[in-house]
């Protein structure tokens, strides 16, 4: 275990360091609080810190307060070792965030048992962290398999590419495809408020509700034809919005159907980002958007659908706001217009090449490959 000792008093520092080294600990020392604070912020900080209270610059309690305010995954156990020995001192030191408090000069036997307590707590903390990491890895795998469908392979008229970059280990975005008999498929892309396992669970739930709604409508249908997207969304809305309100969760969602027999795109927009419809022949693009609120916002909302025609060579782009809200170092968002203009310029390319151009432009804009929100994007190029 690596221990940091910060004490401006050289005798105490030397004695403590020698004692800890003799007990097998790896020891780092600092002679003031400012240096200690620098060490604590390093990439591989000590697991345990023993701070004197009174030191030049930052004192030990100041450093502990700053440590506790610093958000980091790894917990650093802190002890105060000081000559300040009143009950008020102990209360103030522990109240600042110290895990333990010892009075100088220390008794080696007492220090040793206190260190054992620290090791027990840190060991349990590490076990919890490992368990949490394991769960996140599993959740991320589930998300990749359950929340992100593979595009259909039997639709030669639609060239599809997808990109999903969760901001953390597990994100709140999802998408899905349902292939219909005949030349049509449905597409959903949703963005659950928040990130992490809870958002992924809500994503899985709503995705399942949408599929159940579609299958239920198909099963109940007595006449030929497919249920309209707005019918599917209406059922999912009816069955989930009150639950989402209870969960204090919201989902922006777009449900679209591309129908090659009609050459139309019919969509229901539940407060999601506009669909980009690029028309290279006319050298322009349109932003397809309704004025509906997200799912989980209002039980009384009545969703409607809109239909636009398309032609061969047109490109549709569906995406989450994590993509267009991604910021440059100067805090400039990537933006819908930039995305649409980029796709218009690359509309003759294959969908995967368009997607690669989007990913490269995004990385160049943000000057990074890790984003603060989930970035999900689907590019569909109509081949015929």
């Amino acid at each position: 275990m690596k221990i940091l000792i910060a004490d401006d008093e050289p005798l105490a520092r030397t004695l403590l360091a020698a004692t800890l080294r003799a007990w097998g600990y790896e020891v780092q020392t600092a002679s003031n609080g400012t240096d200690a604070w620098q060490i604590v912020q390093q990439a591989a900080p000590p697991e345990l810190c023993i701070f004197d209270w009174n030191m030049p610059g930052l004192d030990g309690v100041d450093v502990i307060r700053k440590m506790r305010a610093l958000s980091r995954d790894k917990y650093i156990y802190s002890m105060i070792l000081t000559g300040k020995d009143t009950r008020d001192d102990v209360v103030a030191g522990m109240d600042a965030g110290a895990d333990d408090y010892l009075i100088k000069p220390f008794d080696p036997r007492e220090l040793r048992v206190r260190l054992r307590v620290a090791e027990r707590i840190l060991s349990q903390q590490q076990q919890l962290e490992k368990a949490r990491t394991r769960e996140l890895v599993i959740a991320a795998r589930i998300q990749q398999t359950l929340l992100f469908d593979r595009p259909m392979r039997n639709m030669p008229w639609a060239d599809v590419a997808v990109m999903a970059k969760p901001a953390g280990d597990v994100g709140g975005d999802f998408y899905g495809f349902v292939e219909h008999s005949g030349a049509a498929f449905d597409l959903t892309l949703g963005d659950v408020m928040g990130k992490g396992i809870s958002a992924a669970l809500v994503s899985a739930g709503i995705k399942s509700r949408l599929l159940n709604a579609l299958l239920g409508l198909i099963a109940a249908r007595t006449q030929a034809g497919r249920p309209a997207p707005v019918e599917v969304v209406a059922i999912a809305h009816r069955e989930t919005t009150s639950e989402l309100i209870d969960l204090e969760s919201l989902i922006t969602l777009v449900y679209a159907r591309l129908d090659q027999s009609q050459h139309t795109c019919t969509y229901v927009d539940c407060g999601h980002m506009p669909i980009i419809h690029v028309m290279p022949r006319a050298q322009r693009f349109a932003l397809l958007k309704s004025s509906h609120v997200p799912l989980g916002f209002l039980c009384e909302e009545v969703y409607t659908q809109d239909t636009v025609p398309y032609a061969a060579g047109d490109v549709f782009v569906f995406y989450s706001d994590g993509l267009t809200d991604a910021r440059s170092p100067a805090r400039v968002p990537f933006g819908v217009q930039r995305l649409a203009a980029l796709v218009l310029g690359r509309a003759a390319d294959a969908a995967r090449d368009i997607m690669a151009a989007i990913a490269n432009a995004l990385a160049a804009h943000c000057q990074a490959d890790n984003y603060t929100d989930d970035c999900t994007c689907i590019v569909i190029r109509i081949m015929a």
Binding site: D8, E9, P10, L11, A12, T14, L15, A18, T19, A22, D52, N54, G83, K104, P105, F106, P108
Partner: protein, 157 residues
């Protein structure tokens, strides 16, 4: 165990001159340190060795470090006490108190704590008196630590 009672720092020197080893002076007390005549140990070698896990070399290292670091602090405290420079006196007294505590030198620790307290309370006369006590305790301790080789194991008397 208390072996000797001393009236002043000079007694420590005399005892050492008469062949008492520093080890046996480990429990010597100095009545001169406190006005209240509370007898306080000057230096407790056994305590220091216990703190170092019976590591005599480390104990010697700490004593050497103390002898290098303490003099300017004592000097600062003396000057600050006489001048009623409370902040400077407080800082020096606090550090000296900690060093004396680590070294197992209760007389100096007690005197420095009194100086620290007086400086914090901005009490002029008590600070001056505590400054004098620190000086007495320091001289006594210095004589103990420097008069004879510290690695002696037995009383020559």
């Amino acid at each position: 165990m208390v072996d000797y009672l001393l009236a002043g720092a000079g007694d420590a020197r005399r005892l050492l001159q008469h062949g008492v080893s520093p080890q046996n002076l480990g429990s010597i007390v100095a009545g001169v340190v406190m006005d209240s005549c509370v007898y306080v140990t000057i230096f407790d070698r056994a305590e220091l060795l216990q703190r170092t896990g019976e590591d005599a070399a480390l104990a010697e290292q700490l004593i050497a470090l103390f002898l290098a670091e303490a003099p300017p602090l004592v000097q600062t405290l003396q000057h600050a006490s006489a001048q009623h420079a409370f902040a400077a006196a407080h800082t020096a007294a606090h550090t000296l108190k900690g060093m004396a505590a680590t070294l197992a030198a209760p007389a100096l620790r007690t005197a420095a704590a009194a100086a620290e307290h007086a400086a914090a309370a901005r009490l002029e006369l008590p600070l001056e008196q505590a400054g004098e006590h620190v000086q007495h305790a320091w001289v006594a301790l210095l004589q103990l630590l420097t008069a004879t080789p510290r690695h002696e194991n037995s009383d020559r008397g």
